[in-house]
């Protein structure tokens, strides 16, 4: 089985996913505010004294978000901003970067552009689930 690996390079990937994460966070916050208190884009626009179309374009990603506009939107939704830069950390038990999904597959299959590898069983063949110990 072959697959298509959509790879744009680490620099572009980091930029795109960061921009997407900020935008997604704003969309999620607005959606929650709307569900909680009927807070609309119109209310947001009025609070910030800007036209509703600007708010709409900011949320749809059609205009760049400046740091100030993010701060203003957070203020208008009565939310605090958390921002952090940190070194990537490796944790014990952390997954390795996935090469394919494991959903609905009994065995993990590696797809790497045609290079054949043996399938690796998700669990050893003789593996038995541990017996539950009866408590006294």
């Amino acid at each position: 089985m072959t697959s298509f690996h959509f790879d744009i390079g680490s620099r572009a990937r980091q930029a795109g996913r960061f921009i997407g994460r900020v935008r997604g966070e704003l969309l999620r916050a607005l959606s929650e505010k709307r569900a909680e208190a009927g807070f609309s884009q119109q209310a947001l626009a009025q609070k910030l004294d800007v036209h509703r179309s600007l708010i709409n374009r900011q949320f749809s990603g059609e205009v760049p978000l400046t740091l100030r506009s993010i701060a203003d939107l957070a203020w208008a939704m009565d939310l605090e901003i958390s921002f952090e830069l940190k070194k990537p950390t490796a944790r014990i038990g952390q997954n390795q970067p996935a090469t394919t999904t494991t959903i609905e597959h009994g065995r993990i299959r590696f797809i790497d552009g045609g290079i054949k590898r043996n399938s690796i069983p998700a669990v050893p063949e003789n593996w038995q689930p541990p017996q539950a110990k009866k408590s006294a």
Partner: protein, 161 residues
Amino acid sequence: MSTIEEFVAASAILPIEVEMSAGDQPMRLLYGTPGFIVWLDEIVNGAEPKSRLGEATPAEQIDDLFHAFLLGRPLVYTRQFRAIRAEKNAVWELKTPDIRIFGWFLKKDCFVGVFGNWADQVKDHDLYRGYRIAIRRLRRELGVDDNLCVQGVSPGDVVSF
């Protein structure tokens, strides 16, 4: 009854992957037709619309969308995906500021992309109906059964939140 594996084995659709970070666990599946893969390849190679709206490049926008989709992150209905028309075996659209992707959900959380285009071209030329008809025709030609097409048109029918 046809299966996803059969379509993949026949190269009618191909699995699409994006780079995952350590700790990422894919929760959804993404496929594309060969024509869609060719279009994706053009995007990877730097294709740009006449006037870009988004801060990110088209390739970055798609990488982020696919990454969020595959990781099972919540997608905002109408902003990031929607059904073209409320009908049985609906055709669905995935959206970024500059890109529109048309396809259908084989199963819940399992999307196959068929066409991609610039958002402004799709809107300016009202291409929704054409893509919808073309995808329905393709499904007929492939022999896609109802079991490989999500019937519902509610957001919760096609993606887990």
